[in-house]
Amino acid sequence: MKEIIKLILKYHFTIIFILLEIVSFSLIIRHNEYQRAIFSESAATLFGNISSTITSIKDYFRLKEMNESLAKENILLKNRLEKYELSRDTIIHGTIIQDSIPVYEYIGAKQVNATYNRTKNYITLNRGRKSGLQKEMAVCTPEGIVGLIQDLSDHFAVVIPLINVDARISAKIKKNNYYGSLQWDGNDYSYSYLNDIPYHVEVNAGDTIVTSGLSKIFPEGIVVGYVESVDKETANFLKIKVKLAVDFKRINHVYVILNNNKNEQTSLEAINYYE
């Protein structure tokens, strides 16, 4: 330790010189368009490589967890399949017409970039228009919903997650179907707030909040989070603090949900609702 301090004292002139140069160059890059363009061009290449290496290393350490979560979901899906087969068997001689296209389709994607400590957070996925993604598609993980697609390029998609103050989604309390709008306050990435629930509704901590299915974007019944606490903020409505089911700091693989009937529903409603 003494040696280190001695070394610093000996070379303090050079060290401070280097620090001042770093300050200068960061100022240059911050405030001068031209230098910033050159810098970000080469930095993007460099950091792109570094971050993809880091991501692949991180992925390796999280394999176990991912496996568990996949296995869990497998079980869930198997159970669901079982249920459907059962019901198909029972109505095999009925006259129900099966729709040839499923209503919802799932597209797997991987997160390549994300923020979680701003008020307007965004997530970037490695799938884009070429994989069949479109604007306003829902994005979720096995734990719950993440957000919806805001913008796309051919190979990437930008997701506006629940933890963005601009994101509002329609959610309901699972046990009694009262629905309200979920909006983030820009503070803690693990909590959001469910507004517009009437005063008389009984809500307890631990209740499950799911998507309402009213927005056409999210299928009904995907977990959003769990009630953390309930505040009687205004005279008529409750303010419900929701612990989000998804840990936004640890998202890796996501599903993008494609609603095949969305256009049909939208156009029908457009004709009848807004005449």
């Binding site: 303090h12 002139f13 001042l20 140069e21 200068s24 160059f25 100022l27 240059i28 890059i29 230098q35």
Partner: protein, 166 residues
């Protein structure tokens, strides 16, 4: 040269740079900077952190005036960083021992030597930082040479009018 006259020189040089020289447009090959003379005539005894900070902040002020945030600061910090070594190289031992820096300024030959090397290095850093790339290095080199030349010319003018007689 005492402290008061040093500050007057600093003030005049800065104002000259901001008010007049920054508004002289000689084409993109001539980058005229005379304010660095204020760093050359700093007392010998000024060393270490104060020296570095004075270079940095003078450059930063020029940046703010010239709307090139950081470029001048990087270059002027660089020339105050090399200043102690450069002084050692260009002066004899006795001159360094003379703690009152102003006296060395009366020696024109020494002043030319020191100022030329320092200005050249200043322009190398300044122009390469401004270009921010090693493409078109030939153009950058021409700019460095011409800018050094024109800056030297103006600084010598100031030196003979303002400093030599003091």
């Amino acid at each position: 040269m005492n402290n008061i006259s040093y500050f007057i020189h600093l003030l005049i040089l800065s104002l000259l740079q901001i008010v007049i020289v920054d508004n002289i447009h000689l084409g993109s090959y001539f980058y005229l900077n005379i304010y660095i003379l204020a760093l050359y005539i700093l007392p010998y005894k000024m060393k270490g952190i104060p020296l570095l900070l004075s270079g940095f902040f003078l450059g930063l002020v020029m940046d703010l005036a010239d709307n090139t945030v950081g470029i001048h600061a990087a270059a002027s910090t660089f020339i105050v960083y090399i200043r102690p070594r450069l002084l050692q190289l260009t002066s004899t031992r006795e001159e360094i021992d003379d703690t009152h820096g102003g006296q060395g300024l009366t020696d024109v030959r020494w002043f030319l030597k020191y100022t030329f090397v320092s200005t050249l290095l200043f322009n190398v850093v300044l122009i390469l930082t401004e270009a921010f790339t090693f493409n078109d290095i030939l153009i950058s080199i021409i700019r460095i040479i011409l800018s050094t030349f024109i800056s030297m010319l103006f600084m010598l003018l100031y030196y003979f009018i303002g400093i030599k007689k003091v």
